[in-house]
Subunit: 322 residues, 4 copies
């Protein structure tokens, strides 16, 4: 495994990491969950990503249970959670968002579900324009001071708001956001590559990117339509169909080109898509979703592939998706 | 239910809320208290107001008991307490006021009576000119840092003192007051509308207003004298008679006019008086007192009435009480 | 009882208060200790003064035991302790002084001996020139932030050092010293009246004065020599003989004059000496030592005497001790 | 025993102190460990030095066990630990270094192994250029605020980095490093005497020096080769051979000269080498390693020797090692 500093912090994340979104507490039984976490750990993955809203709290609960089962050393694990959406299906006004109240309640509840003393990375899962930046930054700092979290960050925030938070923190001697969790793939490059470009040098922010395979599109599995057992076929994730499958014909053509490039390197489209993400030095870690060990191990090969992806290959595959 | 941000904070309060003053621990049995809190919650009320001095601590104790009975989710509830008067009938010098000592003792005791881990809103119930503003602000901030309260505010403070506290906090990187609890009704408009007008934009302060019906006068129940079973008839509340019933004849004439306006809208004088309060955008929530479910539900209809109260109606009823 | 603000803080101390020095853990049995504390409380005394070094920790232990016996309300009591001398007879280098280490250890141990959650007033019992002011001030602030103490102060410090601590605190947004415990009596006026005169208005410092009767000299009990059962006769307190009995003849003449002035007001020399202390508005409280209820009650009469002590009387008795 | 302030702090360390490195958890049985600590304490030693990495955590565990056995008063002991190398033989990326994560985990684990409530001195065992100074300083300050440590320092850091940490702390109102643990002996003088010379007056930093006998070379025990039972013969410490035994012939000649000087004073080479270290006023304490009581007691005699080492002797022995 390769390890990268999370931005300019001292925390080192495995370049590939494990996400519980849309799998833990949903479709993955506890035994499989345990095997997936064990295999991840054995392959050197150290970052396990969760959120209060994933499976309405069940992802955290399952992750916490499995960590106890496996007796992995706490200090070898980077565990995240996220606050914003709440962990109840029909939340009341104080049960979501980024008010000091929900930040406190959500963190206490995540610690209980995860059965941990502290959370390594605590993300504001979305921006909340109904809460002043000062309230968000000071509330996150209270959690740090009280020992409940180590670092805080944002997910899917616009650069302007991250900058505002970082500047407020600097001006008041507080801890600013140290990590952002954006979507990033060959199909979604703008945020990570353009919008955030000034944040990296100025505030030392790292990124833990999600959906590197664009909900599976980049694996080629939608090349011949939406399989009945795929995520996009699920009622719950149909909202993903539109962003993922817009310009469907053009995209699928590009995916086929990607497969051809991958084949030249003896790899799959998915592996090449992951390796391409890893090629961006501002990416601290690429979060993998997996429901099977085999799938996980296939994806982990992206790391070895990385050194074979030269500038020419990068240019050609980027041209495919331009 | 409608929800409003408490000033410029991230906390969202139900526009109508439930006060325990003069009812819990006094005249309301525990069963009724439980039914009132349950009905309030079912109607979307999320803010429940208490104070160390209400029924000498018994209001908090009853509220705490009932919250346990009902197993309502803590994160859906905004619970307040207030420090100043003490919770003993003949307090010694350190058992009231806003010294660091009483602030600490009162908060610890309120948490015990309420059986909670933290209080959402903690109010300085009156100003205390014997305590420097610096001591009050830093003591409230200690409670925030120690996780015992989330936000602090004031009740019945003059604007000048709120401003002083807010400026001290800003100058020292501390949390300033975020909410004031003033009296507000057609008969008591000056503080909320005039005195505090600059505080809202400058410091983002919200208001949780009490006595919106002027101790019942605006319901019309004193139109024909003071009923034997009414609050004003109670020995304990006779101090309210003078402010409520000054200019009695003129006021009762106005209340009758209010009833007429209400009738035009198919509502009661009480509902219209509440709706008028809600019409002020600087009011974060209007605290209702109730001893019976029926009374509570009648008052809750004020919210639906609000949209029917046009500018003309507002002008006419304000003229009645001018 | 009269109550006075401790300097410009919000804490109100009884003008006369109870000290455990040289009595608790030494000569007073637990039953008497309980009666003394009970009588003090009944007479309105709210401040009980202790220190780690008094009877090598036994004074705190006895005070803590008695407070539990009496079930007095914690929020009605102001309890102090002091750090410097250590609580062991032959302390090692880290077991005394004002290093961060001893401040922490001493406070934790005092809380254990007193069986309390927090100490109201925590004094640096002497200056310690081997410790930088920054270390003392930040260590005291750590205790405040951790909820172990409410206010901190000094005892027998020179004004220059108090000023240095207060300025360091102001410059760094920390809590400065709020109270000094100096010796003060007709025989020891310089510190309270001259040396500290600028500290009161500038830093709002209060004083809790000790030895108002100059180890008993002002009661007249040494007029005819040192009684065998008096404190000065004790081997342990012979160091007091020199400062107390210097210029013995002149002093005893003055004490006789004081007795004459007291007689005119129907009081004793001791009562007048105490009333004279109380006449200084910069004195927050006068600490009484007592081993018998009768003695305590006699001394408490000084408060009623205060209003009879006019400017002329003050001038005459001050002239006696000039 | 002589005691010295640790730099300009208020903490007083015994001039000679006890290190657990390379002995506790390695070759010393628990009974001997207990006897060594007891003898050290009886001779007035108050500082006991440990680190997470010493014997992979076993040194701390043994020290903690022995402190419990001996029931020594906690407030008479200065206990250190160090964070950097981790306490596992093959640490993962988050299990070593100076990230906020490892600082927290290492401190919690050291407290558990030592079975203490707090650590007196917590050292950053090496610099970590992968962690920004701001993260190191704020993480150490979190431990101070949370009451887990009292002072923090560095070990084997370059002066430039210590200065950077101290300046960051000053600029942000935080606690800077107060102590450095460098190697210091007649064979390693540059850091303590030259490189750090400006740090002492500017930041008040103390030093707790280690390896004052250059891994035994200065005792003369390697004069005739490496004895089979000596540390340098151990496989584990062979890395020490090169630095210790470079210029072997010249060094051994110097050691013989040192023995001659020592003999003139009725002392051993080891005692004179220790006394020479103690002669530097910027040395707060010299850490002794010992596996036998006799060895410890021999070394403790260096303190009495100190006053016999005049300027001429110093000059001559320094010339030997020039």
């Amino acid at each position: 495994m390769q390890y990268r500093r999370m931005g300019q912090t001292g925390l080192k994340l495995s370049a590939l990491s494990f996400g519980t979104w849309a799998t833990f507490g949903v479709s993955v039984p506890r035994g499989t969950a345990r095997d997936l976490i064990a295999a991840s750990y054995d392959h050197g993955i150290n970052f396990f990503d969760a959120a209060e809203t994933y499976a309405n709290g069940e992802a955290e609960r399952m992750l916490g249970d499995v960590l106890i089962d496996l007796r992995l050393p706490r200090d070898a694990l980077v565990i995240s959670s996220k606050v914003f959406f709440g962990a109840v299906t029909d939340p009341r006004p104080t049960q979501h968002g980024l008010s000091r109240k929900h930040i406190r309640d959500a963190c206490d509840q995540a610690l209980q579900r995860l059965k941990l003393d502290y959370i390594d990375l605590y993300f504001c899962h979305r921006p909340d324009l109904d809460v002043p930046i000062s309230e968000i930054v000071t509330s996150m700092n209270l959690l740090i001071q009280q020992g409940k979290i180590l670092y805080w960050g944002t997910s899917e925030w616009p650069a302007t708001l991250i900058r505002e938070a970082a500047e407020f923190a600097l001006a008041h001697g507080l801890e600013g956001p140290k990590v952002e969790q954006p979507q990033y793939s060959l199909l979604a490059r703008e945020k990570v590559e353009q919008e955030f470009s000034e944040l990296y040098p100025q505030y030392g922010i790292g990124t833990t990117v999600w959906s590197p395979l664009a909900s599976g599109l980049l694996t080629g599995k939608y090349n011949d339509g939406i399989p009945a057992d795929s995520r996009l076929a699920h009622e719950q994730y149909q909202w993903l169909q539109k962003p993922v499958l817009q310009n469907k014909a053009k995209r699928i053509a590009a995916v086929k080109g990607l497969s051809d490039e991958a084949a030249k390197l003896g790899a799959t489209a998915a592996q090449l898509a992951l390796a391409w993400c890893l090629g961006n030095p501002n990416v601290s870690t690429v979060i993998l979703g997996a429901t099977r060990i085999g799938q996980l191990e296939e994806n982990l090969k992206a790391l070895a592939l990385l050194e074979k992806v030269d500038a020419g290959t990068r240019a050609r595959i980027e041209a495919l998706f331009a």
